[in-house]
Symmetry: C2
Subunit: 237 residues, 2 copies
């Protein structure tokens, strides 16, 4: 078994993994953290869509659906939810279908669509995710959403945490070794050091500083959403 990390979806497209693999898609700030939170709070399914127009069309075909997402990290006018995990409370999301469009997370999920298994991962479900990833005899690929083709620190850190916990289960690529080293260097002071990175600075500047610490909390939820046939569900959640 092998464990590899891709820092961007673009890298995944230029050099797709070989063989059968399970992929963990990470968009820590904030799409996958919000998705995991939504399922932990009883949401029925999330349908990721690329554009605002597709989301609005979804609302037509699924009248009870909530629309969620962001552009440049800000809420989309007319949508029900933004991209802060705190918005995805049980009262709001239980039993609901959510149509979600985010700048990077949605793109990353659709990039990974052909994998044998596509899991939604974040710090908040890291432990449960590792159990899922090692349940089947598949190679493991961690796909960081990044932002517009750029690596983002928070996704690399989460990839590093996963590698640290999965090491011993398979051979580590150099990218996996690198992600683990970044996490190891940051772990003692994770929130403060992550604050130096580009996405965290942007979130703090536009008033979402609180999300940063929330998205970096480890192992809060025992739920691993899975993307299949265009929908995300969390079987058994």
């Amino acid at each position: 078994m092998t464990i590899d990390v891709y820092f961007t979806p673009q890298e995944f497209l230029t050099r797709p993994p070989e063989g059968q693999f399970a992929v963990a898609v990470l968009d820590v700030f904030r799409a996958t953290t919000s998705m995991v939170t939504a399922f932990a709070n009883g949401c029925d399914r999330v349908i990721p869509v690329r554009t605002v127009e597709e989301a609005l069309a979804l609302k037509q075909s699924h009248p009870g659906a909530l629309l969620a997402g962001e552009r440049e990290a800000r809420p989309i006018p007319g949508f029900d939810l933004g991209n802060s995990p705190g918005e995805y409370s049980r009262r709001t999301v239980a039993g609901k279908t959510i149509g979600m469009t985010t700048t990077n997370g949605t793109v990353a999920l659709k990039t990974a669509e052909q994998a044998a298994k596509v899991y939604v991962g974040a710090f908040v479900n890291a432990a449960a995710l590792c159990r899922k990833l090692t349940a089947a005899p598949l190679n493991i690929v961690v796909l960081c959403a990044g932002t517009r083709g750029l690596l983002t620190m928070e996704d690399v850190l989460c990839a590093g945490l996963l590698v640290e916990r999965l090491a011993g289960r398979g051979g580590l690529s150099d990218a996996a070794l690198a992600a683990r080293a970044v996490y190891s260097d940051y772990r003692g002071d994770l929130v403060r050091r992550t604050m130096e990175s580009a996405h965290a600075r942007h979130l703090a500047a536009i008033g979402y500083g609180e999300d940063i610490g929330n998205c970096l909390r480890h192992d809060l939820f025992n739920v691993v959403p899975e993307f299949q046939d265009g929908e995300i569900k969390a079987p058994g959640a």
Copy 2:
């Protein structure tokens, strides 16, 4: 001023840097380490070529030239030099033109060709390289050669060392922060930990284990070769 790191030439091609910049091309195992060593030992110029055929043609047009390079890390039949820095002694290279073709280093140099300044970097000339990079008011790009589109640990580590020394001179991208963190995590036990990575294991397996420690030595040479108009020279060396 900004400081950015690209982990592969492929990434550089998909997302070229904006504005005017100086680029440091790193192929620590072993092309750029060998080039720096060659210039430290009085070589006149290195002409990087992509293919064995181009190298053989160069020998026709430059009868005194030495041919150097590797394929799959092994010497090329009929060439004068392989890719071990130890081969580039003063006795062998002083005053010579060297035509060099390597799997990744040559590609990386040609990828960066359009930059305002293209420097050849490695651990062995890191200090001198940092002085060059900060001498002009240009953004700094560190371009890792990687291997066939994959990040390689030794180049990330060297990029991290450069970022650590350059930090404070400009804003660091997340990739630059990540490279610095990897170096910081490995530095206390650099050679042993680098041995876990893919390229080092390959070199050790085929009998070039000695090169690994040699290529990881810091600041041996005060020479910074520069790539311009298809040739590498080291002005003032």
